[in-house]
């Protein structure tokens, strides 16, 4: 199976739970961005194993458990 064929997990944020502490944005800058109004946006879905792994750690480290990978 080539990289492109791999079924990738998508990360999402529950904005009702997110408190914009910025932990994820500091860990994976390519994926998580805090905009000027402190709203977390997913700038880029993980598309490599390495990014998937780092995003998984960020999901686990979110202090408010506002992120999920599915």
């Amino acid at each position: 199976m080539t990289q492109q064929d791999t079924v990738r997990r998508e990360v999402s944020v529950d904005l009702d739970v997110c408190e914009a502490s910025g932990v994820c944005a500091r860990m994976v800058r390519e994926v998580f961005r805090l905009d000027d109004d402190d709203v977390l946006t997913i700038a880029h879905q993980p598309d490599t194993d390495e990014l998937d792994r780092r995003v998984a750690v960020a999901v686990r480290r979110c202090p408010k458990q506002a992120l999920s990978l599915h």
């Binding site: 408190e19 914009a20 502490s21 910025g22 402190d38 480290r61 979110c62 408010k64 458990q65």
Partner: protein, 415 residues
Amino acid sequence: MTILEDQPINPPTTLDLDEINLADPDFWLRPDYHDALAKLRAARPVSWHEHHDSGKGFWAFLDYEDIIAVTRDWEAFSSKHGIRVHHDAGTGQVRPGTNIMIEMDPPEQTANRKHVSTGFTPRQVRKMETYVREQAIRIVSEFERGDEIEFVGDIAARLPMEIICDIMGVDPADRPHLLDLSNRTLGDQDPDYGVDPLEGTKATLELREYGVQLAAERLENPGDDLFSEIARIEVDGKPLPKEQLGGYFALLIAAGNETTRTAITHGMIAFSRFPDQKALFQSDPVGLEQSAAEEIIRWASPLRHMGRVLTHDIEYRGVRMRTGEKAAVWYSASNRDPAVFDDPFRFDITRDPNLHQSFGGGGPHFCLGANLARREVWVLFQELFARFPDAVAVADPVPLRSVQVNGVKSLKVRL
């Protein structure tokens, strides 16, 4: 060579496993306490500790991953019955509950916290950038190169105090008194602050009473400060009772004060012990601001523990714990866990990521002021070293006797 440079960072402990008692305030004054924590974590990641005076005790969690699990499992490990392991009837140290968010569980806690958290988001804190910097410059500009100062009182305590008091709209004339009350509140195990252990409780109550009166004043005459907003909070259509408003005030003043002051002071000690890291920071104070602040806060571990109370019987890592027993997570241990931090006893301002637990292990109570604290720390060191590039500690720090905070009472620094 500075006075602190030749001291061992982590001397091997001379304590046997059974002699390690986290409930004993004198344990935390030992130079070998970090190694004792490492020894205990390796042998017994979950262990029982008892206060000498009351015989009451608590479960201690020292492992980084366990702390995440415990902190997030608020249903088993509740905050509702208090968060201080050392406050027990038998020890003479009892605090009436504050009944505010830090001593609540979800969903009640969630509803309360959201009213306050909006004041501390990254955006709100970014808006304070110029203001925080002006305060830091004002404080360091009072001194001249070569001055020998008492760093804690002259600099470290002042920036966080001024900022939290401005945020809360406290009259400048009242601030020294509030700082004194805040010191007594957290210094209740140190004979320097109050020989009578009830002094701490008295100070807490006085701090709350000040908050109750200020709230009444702000309800009548609202300003644009955070406390005017808190005073107007309604949960389920009802205003907060005045005791709770007093509790919020005391919490924000004490939390905004002691922890950041302690981080800044330990940062100064660390920069004196690791001159290479100071030189590195001075070479790129803006590029390294975030990682340096994070490492200073990890290194300091200002709050040693947070307490919880078990709501039901559980078995964790083969240890049986019962309903009503206390448990505490110890950040002093987890922030030096070699499984998480490479060479944890090296002060390294380039660590990235630096997922220390000084702001908690996550979950409902994760430190609300984290973003403000980080900014205060980096701005202070940028401005301090810009004016005083040779600033260095010239005597050993005088530690606070406390199981709760890694406080420093005084630190002589030559600017």
